[in-house]
Amino acid sequence: MSDGEEALTALTIAEAARRIRNGDLSPVDLTMAVLECIGRTEPRIHAYVSVQEDLALTSARKAAEELGSGRDRGPLHGIPVAVKDIIDIAGLPTCCGSESRRGVPPAATDARVVERLRQAGAVVIGKTVTHEFAAGVTSPPARNPWDPTRIPGGSSGGSGASVAAGSSFAALGSDTAGSIRIPAALNGVVGLKPTYARVSREGVFPLSWSLDTIGPLTRSAEDAHLVFDAIREDGDRLATRLHGGEVQGTRLGVPRSYFFDHLQPDVAEAIENAIAAFTALGAKIIEVDWAEAEAASAAGFVICRPELAAVHERTLHDSPERFGAVLRSRLEAFSIFPGRDYLRARRARAMIRQSIAGLYSQHNLGALITPTTPATATDAGALTIAYPDGEEPVHAGFTRFTMPFNTTGQPALSIPCGFDRDGLPIGMQIIGRPYEETRICNLAMAFERTRRDVRRLPDGTS
């Protein structure tokens, strides 16, 4: 590997796009550098299910030709991206990380969100590992590039690992209980869960129709916004550009109860430092209490799980042996869960959303800030997360601060804000009002500028 290749896969999309337009970098060079990085990192991190090398190079050559002839599709033009393997790519099977999907025919068409990426000129490199049916946070066999003995988080674990390792510039993920933000936090990258229903789910294998949200994982807040801008269904492209200057006077809510319970000490310290950085940037920090946070998490899971069973109803009846024993038992339990309780959660969701709207309105908040996860990446075989005041099952712990905002449907972003004593990344969550993705990306960009120390890539990858 040359120094040049090393530098290329460490660039952000915005940096690469500038160099492409300056004429000192071509989409083909960029794609070849990413493919080389995949070859070097995959034996350790297993982020990809499949890599379409020839198709990617063909797509990169086409992008170069278009740019050379004066057709510029925007900042993603010629940028290598990866796609979570619950999202259809025409010509490839969508296996969802499950043996039960072995032998499914290739997708006939691209998912809407992939179509959007291609329209923006992106070079689709391959499909990334997901936790089985996007219903978990460990994403085997993918591993964390910061320490391959640890999990990359999930369910978009392959996407998070690939962006951190330099084997993609951006990757699509899906987020039903935190599945974009959790791997973003654990891999030290940015993950944006847009407002519910703002990005199309057409061609995406469902986990929970009422909660599933598609979004990007990237190496910077600016990049997350660029990808979001390309894939969202509403509004004019590039109508809003980031400037990272919206912090002065912004009122940021810090919900001390629930979101600061049971934290690893290094996570707590990193978040306090991040809050101090926002204060130094001119933000007004408001301590708030959202009494319905725990109920928001509970309602999300009570909605999600029966919907998961409904998604798999036919397979569970016709060929249940296709599921592993654990997943089969879970699906059976969710299938007989009372409809009354499911509907009760759907009705509680209405009240929960009223309560969070009231909190923002009462305090005139621009955003909330919380840790993304209470802990850094656990060992791959760990069943629990340890805190000074106890322990918690891995899935419950990693989704504790993220699921509430799937229930409310707000946009939420995870951004790196520090490292623990073992050198593992820590994520901070910034949660905005509905449709205010640009605002939270701006806040994140301002934070990145003032805390350049947190933008790092793992050794031995890029």
Binding site: T195, Y196, A197, R198, S210, L211, E294, A295, A298, A299, F301, V302, R305, L316, H317, P320, A325, V326, R328, S329, R330, E332, A333, F334, S335, I336, F337, P338, D341, L343, R344, A345, R346, R347, A348, R349, A350, M351, R353, Q354, A357, Y360, S361, G409, R433, P434, Y435
Partner: protein, 71 residues
């Protein structure tokens, strides 16, 4: 109306009967696992019992349906 009654863990017999009614063939050796998962989810659902939901319709989750004005 506020329903504050806690859920009782379903018995193995109840789980078997519910599975059968749903057309599922739940093996005897998997019944305890199914029972445990179901009990856990029922407990979670019970934490929502403090909400007074009179007159509240199920939320479709779509922010386009008159959501913005509440903020």
């Amino acid at each position: 109306m506020t329903d504050s009654a806690p859920h009782q863990p379903p018995s193995l017999e109840a789980v078997r009967a519910m599975g059968s009614a749903a057309g599922l063939d739940i093996d005897e050796d998997r019944l305890p696992a199914v029972q445990g998962v179901l009990a856990e989810l029922l407990d979670l659902a019970a934490t929502l019992n403090h909400f007074d939901l009179d007159g509240i319709e199920p939320d479709p989750g779509d922010p386009r349906l008159g959501w913005e004005e509440r903020w």
